[in-house]
């Protein structure tokens, strides 16, 4: 699978070494949690995930190429 990850500013604030966009290749299927680990991102630091624009839980299994948006921790109002 070709997985493109887009990291939000809030996530990059705590993972400053990672770029705003990165692509990884994995054997599928894999849960989003496993994909994050493969990318070197601690799942605990990811607040919200979208897959091709739709919000998904970390246990969601992905079995195809996907664009994944990762929103990091952020404060309330």
């Amino acid at each position: 699978m070709r997985i493109t990850l887009h990291l939000s500013g809030g996530l990059r604030a705590v993972l400053a070494h990672l770029p705003e966009e990165m692509t990884i290749h994995m054997e599928g299927p894999a849960s989003l949690r496993e994909i994050l680990v493969e990318a070197g991102i601690n799942p605990l630091l990811v607040m919200l995930i979208t897959v091709d624009g739709e919000r998904r839980e970390k246990n969601r299994v992905i079995d195809h190429d996907a664009r994944i948006g990762l929103v990091g921790p952020m404060a309330g109002g």
């Binding site: 887009h6 939000s8 995930i49 990762l70 929103v71 952020m74």
Partner: protein
């Protein structure tokens, strides 16, 4: 000419009715930028030492920034400052909406209110026309109702701030309300407004603002909106707004639950961002010029009634929901609405109610004293408390003082679980295993508020077990290791300069902090608006100056102010978290001292947390250094 600014200060002495308009001093704009910077400098200069927060001599300052009202993303911010009725020290609070831009279009960067009106009044501002008018007909109305009434009277194009009964009755955590659900919530600005017999300020402005490079700003401003919308996270975050973080805060064990007894709320899925979308939301609601509307306007039906309400956003969910154990998002929204109408800060109101419920649970407050049973999870009991507080009736008179004063009055160990710093109730992040966040709360200039430095993400990044361990344990629910205490100061200080800088500029920080809209965009937009070429680092130096100044203000105003005022309540250094991801963790008093020692050293403050003369001079505050030396 001062590009970007309206160019004038409007001062109204409500006692005498004297209205003055003076040019905005260029050195004030140069050295303090705007908003929070203006507030801090003017409070230092103009409030006499020892002024009672509720006396006519206290000031309520409403200040905009140079970016407010311009074609810049999220430029609707307005800053309020005063001497705090909650802490006795420096106070400010930031509000979204449309008021600040309207004030600037009317010709004023800053509104300074002093004195006390002879009777209930409201201030009418329409460009050059400024009048104090009677508010007899509106006194006693809810904050939202009063805004509706005034809009009907004056027209929809007036932007209006109001207070509710809580402000009228000097509740120390009364807020200023605007735009049917936006507030300058924290530090009791609404109570100061009430002490001045001022129910509302209505403003309509039709003027323009001078811009250094209007053509360039139009081009880059439009580009900025597109860039923000293209940011990773925009599409995922915007639908739920701040309520969307509820899950994460629970997963990392930082959700204030049952008056901060613990940090994990088992039913959090019922009160999270998705619940807001599914059960409440009708539409998004944004502030002036905002590309990322985080407000969620909706309808909540409960056993007590049905209301239209903006929210709840995360902080209200945390304090009205978690801390008071309301288990449905509809109940939280209803409690939110009651607070909004009464003019109570939802954070402090939730913390006060939670403290009272724990007192009741422990037999410290009795049914006879309270007037009814009050238990965690009981919406009706909460509404009862809020109405009593706003009216200062019965038990409400005690609770209207906030948890610090109320617990001192009640005693019997209740001080240990009165969750505040400096007298301001704690907002939505339980921090017994988040030392950076704990330090941020301890050292925030207004008291226990998160928006000066939100370090929780960094704490989690620094403490989490290896990612493979998290996978094997199912990930988010596993117990977290104890976080490292040392080395937190630099990061907290960096954040304390970044976030408040946005309050100086007059724009929302969200696009930078959460979506990663880059600093160079702000440098460019600031230049196009003001004509001043300043690097991000130079802007942050001004934010640092303001930080030292607000600390100096509290040193001057609060007898004996120093390290002792920076500690959290004993619950956080004596009671381990009983369950959840951070079970067993807490910070010892010695660890808290380590945090403070490192912080004071990095700040250039002495061991008691007072800025040294050298530090103040280096920050461009020689006159403040001289004044503090004289005070000593």
């Amino acid at each position: 000419m001062l590009f970007g600014y309206a160019g004038h200060i409007l001062e109204v002495n409500l006692s005498t009715g004297r209205i003055t308009k003076t040019p905005l001093p260029e050195d004030l704009a140069r050295d303090y930028i705007g908003g929070r910077g203006f507030v801090a400098r003017l409070l230092w200069d103009r409030i006499r030492r020892g002024t009672d927060p509720f006396s006519p001599e206290n000031l309520l300052i409403v200040a905009t920034g140079p970016m407010s009202g311009h074609l810049v993303p999220a430029s609707g911010k307005t800053h309020f400052g005063t001497k705090s009725p909650a802490t006795g020290g420096y106070a400010d609070s930031n509000m979204g909406g449309h008021f600040g831009p309207a004030l600037k279009y009317a010709g004023y960067d800053i509104l300074i209110l002093s004195g006390r009106a002879p009777g209930p009044g409201y201030l009418f501002i329409e460009d050059g026309t400024v009048e104090l008018r009677s508010a007899e007909a509106h006194w006693g109305s809810g904050a939202i109702t009063a805004e509706e009434e005034l809009k009907k009277e004056l027209g929809d194009d007036f932007q209006i701030i109001t207070i509710g009964p809580a402000g009228e009755n000097l509740v120390r955590f009364a807020c200023v309300s605007h735009d049917f659900g936006r507030q300058a919530g924290r530090t009791g600005a609404g109570a100061v407004m009430g002490s001045k017999n001022l129910k509302a300020v209505a403003v309509r402005g039709t003027g323009g603002l001078p811009v250094f490079d209007a053509e360039g700003l139009f081009e880059k401003g439009c580009e900025a909106f597109e860039k923000v919308k293209a940011k990773p996270g925009f599409a995922g975050w915007t639908p739920e707004g701040t309520a969307g973080i509820t899950d994460w805060v629970n997963e990392v064990g930082a959700f204030p639950t049952r008056n901060f007894q613990t940090s994990f709320f088992p039913g959090y899925k019922n009160i999270n961002g998705r619940a807001v979308l599914e059960h409440l939301k009708i539409t998004d609601k944004g502030c002036f010029c905002c590309p990322t509307p985080c407000g969620k306007y909706g309808r909540a039906g409960t056993g007590l009634g049905s209301v239209y309400v903006e929210g709840p956003e995360y902080e209200s969910i945390a304090l009205l929901g978690g801390a008071c154990v309301l288990e449905s998002v509809e109940d939280i929204a209803y409690a939110n609405y009651v607070c909004d109408q009464l003019g109570l800060d939802t954070i402090s109101a939730g913390a006060v109610a939670a403290w009272a419920m724990e007192c009741f649970e422990k037999g410290i407050l009795t049914e006879e004293k309270v007037g009814r049973k009050i238990r965690f999870g009981d919406l009706e009991g909460m509404v009862y408390l809020f109405e009593k507080i706003a009216a200062r009736d019965g038990i409400g008179d005690l609770l209207a003082e906030g948890v610090m004063r109320a617990s001192r009055e009640v005693g019997r160990g209740s001080e240990d679980f009165a969750i505040h710093v400096k007298g301001l109730e704690w907002s939505g992040y339980e921090s017994r295993n988040a030392p950076g966040m704990m330090l941020a709360y301890m050292t925030a200039d207004v008291g226990a508020h998160h928006n000066r430095a939100w370090a929780l993400g960094h704490d989690v990044a620094g403490s989490a077990a290896s990612v493979h361990d998290l996978i094997s344990s199912g990930g988010s629910r596993g117990k977290l290791p104890k976080a490292t205490v040392t080395g937190k100061a630099e990061r907290v200080i960096e954040l304390q300069h970044i976030r408040p800088l946005f309050d100086c500029l007059g724009i929302c920080r969200l696009q930078y902090m959460e979506l990663g809209f880059e600093a160079e965009n702000y440098e460019e937009l600031f230049f196009l608006v003001t004509g001043r070429r300043m690097s991000w680092a130079e802007l942050l130096q001004i934010s640092e100056r303001v930080w030292h100044l607000t600390r100096a203000f509290s040193v001057r105003e609060i007898e004996g102010f120093g390290r002792e005022f920076d500690y959290p309540p004993p619950r956080f250094f004596r009671e381990p978290v009983p369950d959840g991801p951070n079970e067993g963790h807490y910070l010892t008093r010695r660890e808290l001292d380590t945090l403070l020692d490192e912080y004071y050293a990095a700040r250039g403050w002495d061991q008691n947390g007072v800025p040294t003369e050298e530090t103040l001079r280096r920050a461009g505050l020689a006159d403040v250094a001289d004044a503090l030396r004289v005070e000593k």
